[in-house]
Symmetry: C2
């Protein structure tokens, strides 16, 4: 089932084959609730092993249109992790110092160390999306940047980083509904940015830019996953399944004690102190 939501480079159909309303054959949240909670426990357990063994880092990267649920999915799916081995990074408008460096500089500083899980709320992909849509960079520059991204991602994955790239796929109608929700709720109004309304005019250009990103950066070691995100419960379920199944492939286990600890254990056991 998961492979249905993976976008390979060979797949030329692009986003149109994915339905933002898709719920994977499930009728409601109730049907997946038990499995969801079971998966949450499994993920916490794997995080503990990851933290103990320090064999790999895990980077979960979220992209998607405004209101696609990047904040929500991090809050609902990943907030159960032990915060000591997990952090969320978001990328705002670059600072003066960041802009004076190459576009991957500020990212590289915050990739996960071995043992840690990091979620990116937006990423270096913005540097070939929003900039391209608004004509700040041309196609050649975008192509060059995507090549740099491929090389950068290879550097990470060659060095033990598990890289999980997720696009949250919503429809323009869903986005409008969410904007209305923000505007009508005093507790959500602060999330509203008037420029979001303007960006809606560029919807098709964004889709084109995203499809070019998928074609150019969906590699075997760092494939893109397309997650239908109009139904929040299915979005959360699928994201959790993708992350869990990727982590399970790492075959994590608690490390063996070192010689000093083993000797001590033997002494204690021999003297009935344990």
């Amino acid at each position: 089932m998961l492979s249905d939501y993976r976008l390979t480079k060979a797949d030329k159909r692009g986003l149109s084959r994915f339905d933002p309303n898709d719920t994977g054959g499930f009728a409601s949240k109730k049907e997946i609730q038990d499995e969801f909670e079971q998966m949450e426990r499994k993920l916490r357990n794997l995080q503990d092993k990851l933290f103990a063994s320090k064999t790999n880092g895990v980077l979960v990267l979220f992209q998607g249109m405004d209101c696609s649920g990047k904040d929500g999915v991090i809050k609902k799916v990943l907030s159960n992790l032990n915060p000591q081995g997990f952090r969320a990074e978001s990328f705002k408008k670059p600072t003066v110092e960041e802009s004076a460096h190459d576009f991957l500089w500020r990212t590289h500083k915050v990739v996960p160390a071995k043992g840690y899980i990091t979620a990116f709320n937006r990423s270096y992909y913005e540097d070939v999306l929003i900039t391209r849509v608004h004509g700040l960079i041309q196609d050649e520059e975008a192509a060059a940047r995507m090549k740099h991204i491929r090389h950068f991602e290879k550097l990470l994955t060659d060095n033990g980083v598990l890289l999980i790239k997720i696009f949250l796929h919503i429809s323009p109608e869903f986005q409008l509904e969410k904007i209305r929700e923000r505007l009508s709720n005093p507790e959500k109004l602060w999330k509203f940015d008037p420029s979001d309304l303007n960006e809606r005019h560029y919807w098709d250009s964004y889709i084109d830019a995203y499809e070019d990103v998928f074609r150019n950066t969906s590699t075997p070691h760092a494939p893109w996953h397309i997650v239908p995100a109009n139904e929040r419960w299915f979005r959360n379920y699928l994201v959790l399944r993708i992350i869990l199944s990727s982590l399970e492939k790492l075959d994590l286990s608690y490390p063996e004690p070192d010689i000093e600890t083993r000797k001590l254990l033997e002494q204690l056991q021999a003297n009935d102190l344990l």
Copy 2:
């Protein structure tokens, strides 16, 4: 009740008046369970307002002996927060670069920005504790450092950081029990460090160093809280209460919309679009 666990500078009795087994008059976890869950919801709600309004930063600093539950309390009390506005920082043996700077340098880089909550698992207080116990610094140097700490904390609190300092108070017997637990459980063995056993010989010196810290750095704007931590459920309950009651004093609220958003709202309402 909370003031019972606050250590003021004027209080000369030190740690001896606190019982690590104290459970605040509660007989069991069951008695506080409902209130605990209610407080968790309140804390999440306040975090959302803090993140939205960006009026203050919040720094929760945990100190305590090995096995006092610093990791555990962050996991159990704070892992429900939205990870996008919360992070945990731990301080290991300083790197070469860190050692080449003053002892507050590495801390200053990771204090919370406005809108954010940060938990410190250990802190700059180690620089007047472990170093002092092992004779790496003398009393005059310790006194000078504590003065720097007071100034540093004043800088933070003057600039809108709510600083909550918590000492997790356990007994040496409880620590031994926890060490045994780590040694007997293959899933916890990786947390065991043979040097922890050696540190037990310095228990009284640590208590002396801590009491000197409390006398010198418990200020009205940044008081120390002593949390009895032999019973994990009471430890979690009291820590949550302390954090919640401190945050409640900030009187947080969602920000008012800016002029542009207000105008847009009026237009939409006038045209029945909302």
